[in-house]
């Protein structure tokens, strides 16, 4: 199971990077980065998966048996953080994209040559 999730996550990272590198439109690049971000999160969560165990919530498992019955809770806590930071990054990218559009009237990345060398 965890191999399937990990494979999907890696494929999503590659797809997202491909989209971000080949598209000229800034909005499409942002979508590419967001897809890659989702892929990273899926890979991280899949690392904590352990066969035959359950979620780290002790509602039916007695706390004394927890060590043998639950999966690793640490990657899940890390991914929760990563999702929130990812959202912040996406919001910032969209805000900058909007400002660039107001500034040049275009979202084509090849129109912005000021820092190109």
């Amino acid at each position: 199971m965890s191999e399937i999730a990990m494979f999907t996550g890696f494929i999503l990272i590659l797809m997202g990077l491909y989209g971000a590198l080949t598209h000229r439109d800034i909005i499409r690049m942002i979508v590419g980065f967001t897809i890659a971000d989702a892929g990273v999160n899926i890979v991280l969560v899949s690392v904590g998966m352990m066969a035959g165990r359950t979620a780290p919530i002790l509602d039916v498992i007695a706390p004394a048996d927890a060590a043998a019955a639950i999966i690793d809770p640490v990657p899940q806590a890390l991914v929760l953080t990563a999702i929130v930071i990812g959202l912040g990054i996406t919001a910032l990218m969209l805000a900058y994209a909007y400002r660039l559009f107001r500034f040049r009237g275009s979202l084509d990345i090849s129109e912005f040559r000021d820092l190109k060398w």
């Binding site: 706390p63 927890a66 690793d72 640490v74 929130v84």
Partner: protein, 236 residues
């Protein structure tokens, strides 16, 4: 897109793909919990009284990281507001080509927005018992704000209420952390309140309180980001 650049992209992605493939083929899932996970599994119940171990890690064991994370969100909201403030529309001005939302969306929002807000509150109050918590609940609150904005694009939430919720919950969060450092084991220690009976809503010490504050803060941050986008000249 010129051909050589396309080729460079493919070569780079192929190298990355090979690296990922090597990682995956050498990966074997753990059979046992590693040391930190084992500590959390064995000690969370009696140390924090929280049923959901992920919540205990986020709010108590790694509480300082979560405070930093909330700060990052606050900074994001502030920077988005700053970047977009140059293009805010004048007050009460309707932008070009605004589409009327339609009867279905307006009526639907009137029924759904209070239910979404209630659900968000449920998710962050039960964060120590069930999957969920402040960040998820805050995002649900903000989705209610999106629906309200879609149903009435000229609507404006009160800035002062958003800022009050945002700064008030942030201040309370840090105060609880300091109280934890004075009365209990350290900054953001949840044992300033009785741990209560394991598995009930009033358990886990200060965890429900902290997660409620985080939920309110995250909801207010997200709403203020959305509102910054909504107030630009082209949106409304």
């Amino acid at each position: 897109m010129s051909l050589p650049r396309q080729t460079i992209v493919f070569v780079l992605l192929a190298i990355l793909g090979v690296a990922f493939w090597t990682l995956m083929s050498g990966y074997a899932p753990d059979a046992e919990l590693n040391r930190s996970a084992l500590y959390y599994a064995q000690n969370t119940a009696q140390e924090t009284g929280a049923q959901n171990i992920v919540t205990a890690i986020i709010v108590t064991y790694r509480g300082l990281d979560t405070l930093g994370e909330v700060t990052v969100l606050f900074l994001t909201a502030a920077i988005v507001g700053l970047v977009l403030s140059h293009s805010f529309a004048p007050k009460k001005a309707a932008g070009p080509g605004i589409l009327p939302p339609g009867e279905l969306l307006t009526t639907g929002a009137r029924i759904l927005v209070p239910m979404i807000l209630l659900f968000g509150a449920y998710v962050f109050i039960n964060g120590h018992l069930t999957p969920g918590g402040g960040f998820q609940g805050g995002a649900i609150l903000a989705s209610g704000a999106v629906l309200a904005l879609l149903a009435d694009p000229t609507r404006r939430f009160s800035h002062s209420i958003i800022h009050l919720v945002e700064s008030g919950s942030g201040l309370f969060y840090v105060t609880i952390g300091v109280i934890g450092a004075v009365l209990a084991g350290g900054f953001l220690d949840n044992r300033i309140l009785p741990l209560g009976e394991f598995g009930t809503i009033l358990s886990g010490g200060a965890i429900p309180l902290i997660y409620t504050l985080i939920g309110l803060k995250v909801g207010a941050e997200f709403s203020s980001i959305l509102e910054s986008f909504e107030e630009t000249e082209d949106a409304a």
